[in-house]
Symmetry: C2
Subunit: 356 residues, 2 copies
Amino acid sequence: MSTITNKINYQQMDKESRRTGNITLKEVAEAVGVSTMTVSRVINNRPNVDEKTRKKILEAAKKMGYTPNHVAKSLVSSRTYTIGVIIPEISHSFFPEVVRGIEEATNNKNYQIFLTNTSDNFGKEQKVLNALRSKRVDGILVSSSLTTDDFSFYKLIIKSGLPLVFFDRGIEDIGASCIGVNDKTASRQITEHLISHKYKRIGYLSGPKRVSIGKERFNGYIEAMTRHNLEIDERLIIENGFNEKCGYAAMNELLALPKEIWPRAVVAVNDPVAFGAMDAIREAGLSIPNDIAIVGFTDDIRAKLVACPLTTVQQPAYEVGKKAASKLIRTIENKDEPVETVELITKLVIRKSCGC
Amino acid sequence: MSTITNKINYQQMDKESRRTGNITLKEVAEAVGVSTMTVSRVINNRPNVDEKTRKKILEAAKKMGYTPNHVAKSLVSSRTYTIGVIIPEISHSFFPEVVRGIEEATNNKNYQIFLTNTSDNFGKEQKVLNALRSKRVDGILVSSSLTTDDFSFYKLIIKSGLPLVFFDRGIEDIGASCIGVNDKTASRQITEHLISHKYKRIGYLSGPKRVSIGKERFNGYIEAMTRHNLEIDERLIIENGFNEKCGYAAMNELLALPKEIWPRAVVAVNDPVAFGAMDAIREAGLSIPNDIAIVGFTDDIRAKLVACPLTTVQQPAYEVGKKAASKLIRTIENKDEPVETVELITKLVIRKSCGC
DNA sequence: TTGTACGCGTTATCAA
DNA sequence: TTGATAACGCGTACAA
């Protein structure tokens, strides 16, 4: 769809249905017998209004049920006090927590958030971004589902000056801030934990490497293997998506290899992928961690509950959301807020699936 | 806070920071050398424009990066294509699923959703409702966290003509539609399942009874007990909130009773409450279901994973969201869409915690 | 202290 | 086929 086409047909509405019944400044003014400006001053708590008129106006406004029209205000001020939030998968428990953090930061500052879940569909992501632009959001928070290599779309938005902050899944070196965690280090550490169990053949279930977390976590794995002089067998590295189904498919790809080259342990790019892989392992009649050990990344709400509790990396989801929103708001309200990449600290959570 | 006071101070912004850089119809018109109306007609795919001018305008618009300003459109049309969604607890896995369903219905129709999580705080709920009204949302979807008995606030909103649909947690007989599940029947059935295990002393961990689900589920429990001539011991009925902590506290209240009157089984108003109660039971050194059996309601993502898998009622969360949003949109777009209460069908999921 | 005039970006309406 | 004008609700700037 084109940026400049307009899907909504306002013609279809007749005068009738448009009547909202909302009271305006003017109506209050007429009721009291003053000008709209005087009412405006009272409503906005501005000085230079006689106490008596102020009282009269407040009374009338309350009685008539006046509510300020932010749409009109926004048109005048070019500020909507609205932020667009785009997440790839609302069912992944990490994201609701992030949203909770975002809310925490935005509500204090009286911003409202437009939430959209793209279900990892980049087409939808673009469509929504355009809608948000038309709605004139003050800024955008996005965890991108990069199923394409074409960043020009984001470049355009950023160049247009619309404040944008990535969280979790960002695009690097594109001129926007990104709030994430120390993916590479954490990924290296959890791989090293596996190595400390004396496993040699360690596979990797990767996410798309063009997304920040996909790349960083993969690099952490590679670094660990290299540091410990372990062979990196390309056949044991499967790239797929970030959800359970993808993990299931990826693991089955590994299990389709000749048994002699099977990995003894597997690092998954995140917990949902690990859960999917665990299903595949179990279905193959194998045991975790005795036949194949596995670790994840996220500390999903289910990680400690699954049959063989998952060793994983705990991410401060709430903090990520809160920090990202704060950063965005600062970028909105402050002309020269710098672009920065923030890495929050994670924590290794050792359970059973690694063999401990 | 008052309905008519205005928190945002637009004065603080200077001209500079207000400049958005967005292209307007007028600018495109000037570039091409036509009137704004002609450009408007082209952008909105309206007839009566010469093919040549249409082409020229589309080209210019694209080159200049024109994006329609929905704020201005909304001011004219009194329609924002925006819906407010209020949920009490985003961390409860039921709600993200509902939101996914809402999205499904709204995105097809080109509505955007304002999401707010009230953390079960009715004060915040009211504050947000006012903000949404000021933003002139076309309608509101709410699962209310009724920590008060004062419905006048909602009555006012509904009377004002702003379309509003409750989902899951609604207020009855107040003139708004409500999309939920067959709470009473399901609650009766799951209680009867417990009764089929020959338990006599069955307690109930209730939510607030003034909320639809609180009342209905409680009534289902009572009905089951009555039908089977079992004694309803008031001491075994604890009313508290809907989350894990509340369940934990409520169960401990039961366990503080003399041992002779302890319940042999417990019905929880929802899964989070059941999880909290399970923690309390375990901490008391008791075993589930041998010492105390327990059942829930929701089929939370964790229900099948906990130490003793939870017998519960599966709710079609996604469907609830989708139906509620569709109903709201119909109410918005159709003057005489009737008010209705819809009950979706649930499914009993038998696992271990009931004693099976 | 209060009011008037104008503009924000768009569209409906009517005239050319 | 095109354009001029008014209106949506509000706030700034300035005048009274």
